[in-house]
Each structure stands twice: as structure tokens, then as C-alpha cells.
């Protein structure tokens, strides 16, 4: 890969490794020695292999993220509450998530020569991912919150962000916006979907009748 094109990949990968491993090590004053030095060198080594080898999703989406695991398993405190507790911990966590998102954007191939602005779409995607994360993490990180309730909130946030951005925004909005072929396909799917079919009407009628019946049941016989 030519260097100017691979620059975002190098920078985002190194930032992700720094934020997820190197800075927590400095924060906890960990001294790497022996095998942990090898573990620490693993992500940059995979990054170098990625730069030399042809573009491969197995390397970029599997090997590089997994290269961080040995170090995290050798020192579990790197991902523990001593690093990610409180408001500063939340900021650190969001920085790691942001670096991960930037890395994913850098590894995603450009599909088109369209003049649509991918920077705007990436910013919108990041905002859409951060909004539910923050909305759910805010109450969860407040004081006097039950641990299981906090964990539920913290687990829901990334799930919703993934569904909203990876499954929804990227597939349905961003890609059709930048790729004329995908735009044409989205048009075709939309026209196919709005074409009336008898079963659609039957299903809609059944669901509407069910909803109305539930509503009527609730108002007439609800124990209030």
C-alpha cells in the first residue's frame, strides 16, 4: 500500500494501541518485562504486516484487534476499574471507542469516486454512535447506582450504537450516498418494497386489528 494512502491506517492503529494499552500502562506504572514486551510489540508488528501485505479484511478486522488481547490478558488491570472509573474513565473509554471507530473507517475501502463528502458522513456516523452511548452511560456512571443496573445500561449502549450505525446508518444512508451503484440498488429495493402485495395488506390488517383489540381491552377491562 502506498504510504500516503496508508497514513490514516497507521495513525489510527497506533493511536488505538496507545490509548488501549500504552497509556493505561503509564497510568498504572506497569513495567513491561520479558514476554509482556513481546505482547506489547504484537499490535505494531501486525500493523507493519498489514502495510506490506495486500489489503485483507482478515488482517485488518481480525488480526490487529486480536493482537491487543495477549497484553490485556497478561495484565487484566489495563481494562479494569482503576483505568476506566469515574468521569475521566468515561473520557478515556470514549477516546478508545473513537480511536477504534477511526481505525475501522481507515480500513474500509473507498468504494467510489463520487464527489459525496465522506468526512461529513463519518462525522454523522460518529455522532450517531456516541449519542446513545452517552445517553445510556450517563445515568449508569452516576453515584449510588446498582452494579447490575449500571452493567445493563453499559452493555445496551454499544449494542444500540452498533445497530444504529453499523446496521442502519452505514448500510442504508452512507453507502448509498457515496456509491452510485448502491444508490441504484436502494432505489430498486425501495420500489420493490412499496409495491403492494396481498399478503402485506393481510398482515397489516391483522396487526392493526390486534393492536386496536389490545387497546380496547386495556381501556375497558384494565384493573385501575
Amino acid at each position: 500500500m502506498p504510504l500516503p494512502r496508508s497514513l490514516p491506517l497507521i495513525v489510527s492503529g497506533l493511536v488505538f494501541t496507545t490509548l488501549s494499552i500504552a497509556l493505561p500502562m503509564l497510568h498504572l506504572r506497569l513495567q513491561p518485562s520479558g514476554i509482556t514486551l513481546l505482547f506489547l510489540a504484537l499490535p505494531p508488528a501486525v500493523l507493519v504486516v498489514m502495510l506490506l501485505a495486500p489489503r485483507s479484511p482478515a488482517l485488518s478486522h481480525f488480526a490487529f484487534p486480536l493482537a491487543h488481547l495477549p497484553m490485556m490478558l497478561a495484565h487484566p488491570e489495563l481494562t479494569g476499574p482503576r483505568v476506566y472509573a469515574g468521569a475521566t474513565g468515561l473520557v478515556a473509554f470514549l477516546a478508545v471507542v473513537g480511536a477504534g471507530a477511526a481505525y475501522l473507517v481507515a480500513t474500509t475501502p473507498r468504494l467510489t469516486t463520487s464527489r459525496a463528502r465522506p468526512e461529513l458522513l463519518v462525522t454523522l456516523g460518529a455522532l450517531l454512535a456516541l449519542a446513545p452511548l452517552l445517553a445510556l452511560a450517563g445515568p449508569a456512571l452516576a453515584a449510588d447506582t446498582a452494579p447490575w443496573a449500571s452493567l445493563t445500561c453499559l452493555a445496551l449502549g454499544p449494542l444500540i450504537a452498533w445497530w444504529l450505525v453499523a446496521r442502519g446508518f452505514v448500510q442504508q444512508v452512507a453507502l448509498p450516498a457515496v456509491d452510485p451503484a448502491l444508490r441504484a440498488r436502494a432505489f430498486y429495493l425501495l420500489r420493490a418494497r412499496v409495491r403492494p402485495r396481498p399478503m402485506t395488506f393481510v398482515f397489516a390488517a391483522i396487526m392493526s386489528a390486534l393492536a386496536l383489540a389490545l387497546l380496547a381491552f386495556w381501556y375497558l377491562w384494565s384493573p385501575r
Binding site: F169, Q172, R183
Partner: protein, 64 residues
Amino acid sequence: MKFALLIVMAAALFVAAVFFFFRSGDLLTQKDYLAGALHVLSGLALSKAGLELARLAVLARAPR
């Protein structure tokens, strides 16, 4: 005009969805799990509606 209207409506739906997610976080931390789950579902439905409108906006815009 159509593009701007659809984008504004989609943004409004996303803001409403985020409000529902925030309320659900509040309810979940108070251990009101049923209400929290219902708010999450409402937020997801609003997000889905927003996504549909954003997609329509993208498709309604003339290709450049």
C-alpha cells in the same frame, strides 16, 4: 427543499430517540427494568424511522 425537510425530520426523530435512550438509562438504574426496556424499544423504533427518512433524503437528492 424536499431533502432539507426530510433531513430535519430525521434529525428530530434521532433527537427524540436519544431522549428515550436517556430516559431508559434513568429507569434501568432505578431498577425499573420493564419501563426501561419499553423506552429502549421506543427509542429503537424512532431511530429506525429516522434512518428511513434519512435514506429517503439521500435517494431524493439528485446524484452529483
